[in-house]
Amino acid sequence: MTRHTENFSGRPVSVVSPDDSRNVMRITLTRGLFFDLFIALTSGLFFSLIAVVLFAMVTTTSLHEFFHQLRSPVVFSAVWISLQTSFAVVFLTFFFGFPISYLLALNHFKGKAILETLLDFPIVMPPLISGLALLIFLSGDGLAGRILNHWNISLIFTKKGIILAQLFVAAPFFIKTAKESIGAIPKNLLAASATLSASKFFTFRRLILPLSKTGILAGLIMAWARALGEFGATAMVAGCIPRQTETITIAIYMHAMSGNLETSTALALVLMVFSFCSLLVFRAIFKKKRENGYYA
């Protein structure tokens, strides 16, 4: 029941009488219910899918089988190669990536946008293509290949090749995160540092590094996780030589394809534990950051 009154300009205005208010409430409530149900259903479906898939993989193996597989040299070598290469990547990423993030975060120069686009490229490009490009670049007839051949350095089908492939794919993640985190330092803090006679290096050591610490750590973890899970580029550059260039991911693929699901599953579980740990550390870092109360 709607009454019509007139407002000051003489136009009719609908007014809901008190009797109607309950109906109106119910309509909005049912509308809300449908919406809430939709949200609950979709998110429920999604999360149960994740849980079911994880569960399915865990149930293909037993604890006994898992530990048995862990002790096998195939699994051990794959895990060892993966850890070696991924940590080397983390180290190199920090060493080469940090100056780049510093440059991009604090300087304005011509062509900066081009550099930033180049940086995004390895992120959006399928790793397989990155790998192919690297393979062509490093192969005997390639641009770098000839020079490397001259010095008798071979990167293709070696661990160094794996590191290079992983670095190519993973470093932009670190650089971007570190850049964001350095860029988020309020500019007036940098100005304040300058007015206090601090040199660039002093400012870097005493101000920029401590304030972007958590961002750098998070970036390194992201780069590590990315390097560990890298498949396409690594496979392209390093091939799949068992016990030499076989990382965890490549081993999972090779064993699964040859029907050896037990080994694949064991390796997959190891990788999952690593991923989960890095996720935990990542979350812990960001929780600490929030508690510290300042953005780093």
Binding site: A191, A192, A194, T195, S197, A198
Partner: protein, 375 residues
């Protein structure tokens, strides 16, 4: 250790912020630059500090040109509006930051920091992080940090504007005391008149990228010279006028006002500005207006009291002379009732001309022939 700026210009894109600005701050002086928000006060300070390069012009600190000297080496202390304390360092470490850049020994740093913590009265807060400090405490630490390096020049960018009125007053007193104690040349920019009143030896009014007036606040307030300065400083009773006759020592002007119901002529002491044909403005300070029941003085008009406000020990009375409203100040004891018709009296030397042309334009473009006080 003075600061001299010569013809400083700065623009961001097409937007000109500072236009040929010149300024001289004497050694040991507390100089306040007063201007509305967004008129380039902070830009000016950043240029002096070396955080921004000027497009044109020269900067001298202690008689040495510092245009090419980076901020790190200008020997300045800077206090920011939002404190800019380092969040990961304690109060002590914040103050010590600038000292660690030099070659001071640990023990010397300790004594120096303690001294400045003492000076700003926060000795027992040395281990607190900025997060744990109140706004006023943060600004004190920021001040101590800037002073601890014992700079030649202290620059403050609206340091009190984020604090509540009570704290502002307290910090102003402290700031003035500390400046006098240390004797550091200080350049302070603000939009707040109260800061200028409490702190400044001299004040410069910044308007449209130029210094429109420099002097003691008292002088500027008494003779604002330009309408902008008058309005910005809260000078009331500004009348638009047109000259009607000029005598040897006096002039007669006709008040033009949109709401004026009758012809209003005022006798005024002759000022050079009156050689001008165009309209001009006069300001009469409220203290110079007397409200009487019997007429006296050279100018006397009948008017009506339309508003009375108590302001401390005095009464602010608004009177209406056939459409023109004037503010007068009188002691609380002389109680005049609202709506009463009174004589509004003032002497011929009470009204003072304010001119826009003198400051805005170079000589050859001026449409006025005034030579107001000292120009």
């Amino acid at each position: 250790m003075g600061i001299t700026l010569e013809n400083i210009s700065k623009s961001f894109g097409k937007h000109g912020i500072l236009k040929n600005l010149s300024l001289a701050v004497a050694a040991g002086e507390f100089h306040v630059i007063l201007g509305p928000s967004g008129e380039g006060k902070s830009t000016l300070l950043a240029i002096v500090a070396g955080l921004l390069p000027p497009d044109e012009g020269k900067i001298f600190i202690a008689a040495r040109e510092v245009n090419r000297v980076p901020a790190q080496k200008r020997g300045i202390g800077f206090v920011f509006q939002d404190y800019a304390l380092f969040p990961h360092l304690t109060s002590f470490e914040n103050i010590a930051y600038g000292l660690r850049t030099g070659s001071l020994k640990k023990k010397e740093i300790r004594t120096r920091v303690d001294r400045y913590l003492e000076l700003v009265g926060l000795a027992d807060h040395q281990n607190k992080y900025p997060d744990m400090l109140s706004g006023g405490q943060k600004q004190r630490i920021a001040l101590a940090r800037a002073l601890a390096t014992e700079p030649r020049v202290l620059l403050l960018d609206e340091p009190l504007s984020n604090l509540d009125a009570c704290l502002q007053e307290q910090l102003r007193t402290d700031l003035r005391m500390i400046q006098q104690k240390t004797g550091v040349t200080t350049l302070y920019v603000t939009h707040n008149r109260a800061d200028a009143t409490a702190l400044a030896d001299r004040v410069s009014i910044l308007h449209q990228g130029r210094i429109e007036r420099t002097g003691s606040l008292k002088d500027i307030f008494r003779e604002p010279e330009t309408q902008f300065v008058a309005v910005f400083l809260g000078v009331t009773n500004i009348l638009n006028a047109r000259l009607s006759s000029l005598n040897e020592n006096t002039a007669e002007v006709c008040v033009i006002h949109p709401g004026l119901k009758q012809n209003l002529k005022i006798k005024v002491k002759k000022h050079p500005v009156f050689h001008r044909e165009k309209e001009f403005s006069l300001c009469i300070h409220p203290e110079k207006i007397r409200l009487r029941e019997t007429p006296e003085g050279e100018n006397r008009f009948l008017g009506r009291i339309v508003r009375i406000e108590i302001d401390g020990d005095t009464l602010e009375v608004m009177v209406d002379i056939s459409g023109v409203k004037l503010k007068a100040v009188m002691p609380k004891t002389s109680a005049l009732p609202l709506e009463k018709t009174v004589w509004i009296c003032f002497e011929a030397d009470a009204p003072h001309p304010v001119c826009e042309g003198c400051n805005r334009h170079p000589d050859y473009l001026r449409d006025c022939r005034c030579r107001i006080a000292g120009k």
